[in-house]
Symmetry: C2
Subunit: 279 residues, 2 copies
């Protein structure tokens, strides 16, 4: 945009679940500098590198890091550095303390971060999206995912978006496991009229089937406009073979619950993971 | 009981999830004959030994087997032969078709069978219990568990009961994972005033923590009288160490949600698993 070249985009990073590898953070910072030069600043909160048992710092430290970045009008975006279990422990502490600067920001992440995205959606935050995170740099060819995430955060690039997503229409993307685990909690958003996009990683077929039972049996979820299935990767082998693929499972439960099955979605725990603004 | 010695107790067995090993079924039948002679008859429905992908027969076959036994006044009890994923696929088909003979029966099982126990509780069935199943015979020393299950089914033996259970008071025992996966579905029972007993097997600490978040955040669960923690066995190692034990996790989430933590419970995926009538 003419005239906007002077504006520096400042992106703060926090890790609400598990610890970020400092070397990986450096690689992502260097990559952003290569792509955007001084126009973009990535600032990893020191909390990202803390360690407290399973987590990147205790609950207080992880909550404080999000608040530090989110409530500071000097940051344009809060990019979650990575997932890994932990966001559900702090989401209900963080969300009521967020201010107008937090509301104005772009928020991006996926996987366990879905707990926060759900709660932010419920709280009416307008600029939240499901999509790549810095940790994706660790994947082979992960630069593509990181570049895509950055392009949405920095320029709102439409090329980063999942192709079936209609801008402005509610499209709520989640990890299937995380969605199951937030239903009935204070983080559960309203699904009326929304398209739900689901992906998963590392779950047995019998667990995917069970999650689909749980999610599609939920009255709030049943008010959605339809469901799209992202990639379910790294499914451990079932003995005996489960007898259905993940798409057959999704179709089965959609048919049984009266939810329109709207086909596949281009999201997943991989380099091809596209950005889904909640709209 | 004087005069009751002539009465033969007929126990029908179905497998709503995965297939029962026929040799194991024979061992259990022989063991019951050894304990009770002709006074007790165990009749494994042929469905127990079917195979359809992951399941002991397709959904129709598994549902039909339960109905065959449950609705037949010739059977005194329906004992679930084993768990293994599958009950949630058929519970909503089965329960509305159950008759008065089914209501009068004793029902016993645990693990994945919790989906059915929950739905039966919701439907007002008075004689359902969480406890040992024939498949427990495969454990080292498993005879103790099978004997305990039989003694409750045949004689309503109080020696089989979990020692903290007050007869007549609602005590709802579940596998933690299964409880999480039935919340918000048509199988969810009313927890008001009930003591909830939870056990689990083979789940990572971070998943146990996540299940506790999910379960204790639920408004219906929060109306319970308190929570007791059974055994959580075969927890895979967390890297790094999670930093809390399962009891610390249970206490944390109970404190946070205002649910009284009432201590440990003598249930689990093991030989010591006691019987918990839902009361």
């Amino acid at each position: 945009m003419v005239g906007s070249s002077e504006k520096v985009v400042r992106i703060g990073l926090a890790a609400p679940g598990t610890r970020m590898d400092p070397a990986l953070a450096e690689r992502v910072t260097a990559f952003a500098a290569e792509l955007y030069g001084p126009r973009v600043e990535l600032i990893f909160h020191p909390q990202c590198f803390l360690s407290s048992g399973h987590f990147a710092g205790d609950d207080d430290a992880r909550a404080a890091a999000i608040l530090d970045i989110a409530n500071d009008p000097g940051f344009d975006a809060l990019w979650f550095a990575r997932g890994g279990y932990g966001a559900c422990r702090i989401a209900e502490t963080v969300i009521p303390q967020l201010n107008e600067a937090a509301q104005a920001k772009a928020w991006l992440g996926y996987s366990d971060i879905g707990f926060l995205l759900a709660g932010l959606r419920r709280a009416g935050f307008p600029r939240i999206a499901h999509g790549p995170m810095p940790v994706d740099m660790a994947r082979e060819g992960g630069e593509a995912a990181v570049r895509r995430g950055l392009s949405w955060l920095v320029d709102g690039a439409t090329s980063a978006l999942e192709r079936g997503v209609t801008p402005g229409h509610p499209n709520l993307a989640f990890n299937l496991t995380i969605l199951s685990q937030l239903l009935g909690t204070p983080l559960e958003p309203d699904f009326s009229g929304a398209v739900i996009l689901l992906e998963d990683v590392g779950e047995y077929m019998y667990r995917l089937d069970r999650y689909f039972f749980h999610v599609t049996s939920n009255p709030n979820v049943q008010r959605c406009a339809g469901l799209r299935l992202g990639r379910c990767s790294a499914i451990p082998s079932n003995d005996p073979d489960f007898g259905m693929t993940e798409e057959e499972v999704a179709r089965f439960w959609c048919a049984r619950s009266g939810i329109p099955y709207l086909g596949r979605a281009d999201i997943g725990h991989d380099n091809e993971n596209k950005v889904v603004p909640f709209g």
